[in-house]
């Protein structure tokens, strides 16, 4: 799992968008990241994800599943790349697919089942450590 290495941030942004159709995974990831102090938004498919992105405060990271109904992960990435306001938001693909996907529109790829410590390291590098957690 590699990071782009340029996004260590001290900004206030600590919103993360999770786009995942499996409710158990979506809810657990939300709970885990909220415990870490991040503000979490969720969508259950790519279509919902796009609509949410246009309305919500700009997230520092999107965690994206690939196989979803209505609009899947790759379609989401394609659509996102055509909208200036959201095109540059970093995306980490989180998926159980066998083959490494086309990474041209995403920054990282994490395989399922998720190794939590690795995910948290990665999230911190994109979103920083939230204010109220810094003393931990």
């Amino acid at each position: 799992m590699t990071t782009s290495g340029t996004t260590r941030t001290e900004t206030v942004c600590k919103s993360i968008l999770i786009v995942e159709d499996e409710p158990g995974i979506r809810e657990n990831l939300q709970a885990l990241l909220e415990l870490e102090g991040y503000r979490i938004f969720t969508a259950s498919n790519g279509e919902e994800g796009l609509r949410l992105l246009r309305r919500m405060p700009r997230p520092c990271l999107i965690l994206l599943d690939l196989l979803m109904p209505v609009l899947n992960g790759m379609e989401f990435l394609e659509a996102k790349s055509h909208e200036d306001a959201i095109a540059a938001i970093p995306v980490c693909i989180v998926s159980g697919v066998a083959e490494r996907p086309d990474m041209s529109k995403a920054s990282a790829f994490i395989k399922k089942p998720i190794e939590l410590d690795g995910l948290l390291r990665f999230v911190r590098s994109y979103c920083g450590v939230p204010e109220d957690r810094r003393s931990d």
Binding site: G5, T6, G24, N28, G96, V97, A98, P113, D117
Partner: protein
């Protein structure tokens, strides 16, 4: 001027003038019968064409295979035979070059519907028989037909079966990953949200479930990897890979795992090692496979050391552990499918080292080990050194 000497130093009985000629003719007839017997016994259909591409003769196998008789075959132009099934532009091109350009061809594949015998796939070989080798001193073309129909069917069935299996494995392993992810994330949450009970019982149980789930995850991954490796269409995307960076990442991921058993993880990369030519994703599995193995064998408080050095154009990766070593009689089997150390816990399916070996060898590298019971093991593999690294992309 003497007569040309008879072959094999036979005596010249030229005063009995008819006898050598008889002997010669007799030998000629015998050779002719000999050749004819061979041609008639062989199961491969053969046909001889003259320079006009008309059938001069065909063997018994030809008539039996195509269920035709000499009357409808001899003297006929090859393209007129049967339902004109040999009248194929590319075949004409090839046949018409055999005599004038002295070309021969092999394994020309023809799939056609033949009268009386149905659809067949045949491989044709053809070559010239020079004029001075033939009875009438005319150059002739010998065409042989090989029935490929059954073999082709078997190959197609085999390909279909392999593809079906690959697809099955890919779908099933993908489906398993979501429930596994739910289990592990639920456990992560439980750990974080449960108040600690005095005996640590709850934590222990959670840890057991999590560990079992991770094992399942590894088994599924291994299954998928083996199917990919064994498929005909195993693809690797090779590139120049930065070695120090690779080792750093591997150590970052493995450090915590080794630390759980208080195993000291060391590493060193020789300064002349910059990059190797490989598929990073696959090699990123080989190192952890070897490390996981080392961790399994090494007791608490032991040491595992990764070393990378270079000899000319080969880079050697080595994982050395201070563990219990592998018995000598097992050494030859370590890289086989399903091999596991006997006294070890059953921790997986035993595919990790088999996968490592397959991947390294697919890269043209070598993998091996040396080990001594009670002292430890050294696993190593080699890859080709790469030249300069490409300019790094900033994502």
């Amino acid at each position: 001027m003497g007569r040309k000497p008879l072959p094999h130093g036979k005596r010249d009985d030229s005063d009995r003038s008819d006898q050598p000629k008889e002997a010669f003719l007799d030998r000629g007839r015998r050779y002719s019968l000999y050749a004819q017997n061979i041609i008639d016994t062989t199961r491969e259909p053969l046909v001889v064409l003259n320079s006009e591409l008309r059938v001069s003769s065909a063997n018994r196998a030809f008539y039996e295979f195509f269920k035709v008789d000499p009357a409808e075959t001899e003297g006929e132009w090859i393209y007129d035979l049967g339902d004109r099934q040999w009248d194929i532009p590319r075949l004409r091109e090839l046949l018409e070059k055999v005599l004038p350009a002295r070309m021969s061809f092999d394994n020309y594949e023809v799939t056609q519907d033949f009268p009386r015998i149905g659809r067949k796939t045949l491989l044709l070989n053809a070559r010239q028989i020079k004029g001075d080798e033939t009875p009438n001193r005319e150059p002739l073309i010998l065409v042989a037909f090989e029935d490929f129909t059954e073999r082709m069917k078997l190959e197609q069935e085999r390909d279909q079966a392999l593809k079906a299996r690959e697809e099955l494995v890919a779908v099933v392993s993908h489906e398993i990953k979501n429930p596994l992810t739910i289990i592990t994330t639920s456990l992560d949450l439980l750990k974080r949200t449960l108040s600690h009970d005095g005996q640590g019982q709850t934590e222990r149980l959670i840890e057991q479930i999590r560990s079992a789930t991770l094992r399942m995850g590894h088994i599924v991954s291994d299954l998928l990897d083996v199917t990919k490796i064994e498929s005909d269409r195993f693809i690797m995307r090779q590139a120049a890979v930065d070695v120090p960076e690779l080792i750093t990442e591997v150590v970052a991921v493995f450090g915590p795992i080794a630390a759980k058993k208080s195993i000291h993880l060391e590493h060193g990369v020789s300064p002349d090692v910059v990059a190797v030519w490989c598929d990073r994703d696959w090699i990123f599995q080989v190192l952890p496979n070897l490390l996981a193995n080392a961790v399994k064998f090494t007791g608490d408080g032991g040491t595992i050391r990764i070393d990378v050095d270079r000899t000319e154009d080969r880079v050697r990766f080595q994982v050395k552990d201070s563990g219990c070593g592998i018995p000598a009689d097992q050494l030859a089997h370590v890289f086989e499918r399903f091999w596991q150390a006997k006294h070890n816990q059953y921790l997986g399916v035993g595919l990790g080292l088999y996968i490592a070996k397959s991947v390294v060898e697919a890269h043209g590298g070598k993998i091996g080990l040396s080990s001594k019971e009670g002292e430890g093991s050294i696993f190593y593999f080699t890859l080709a050194a790469a030249g300069a690294l490409p300019v790094r992309k900033t994502a």
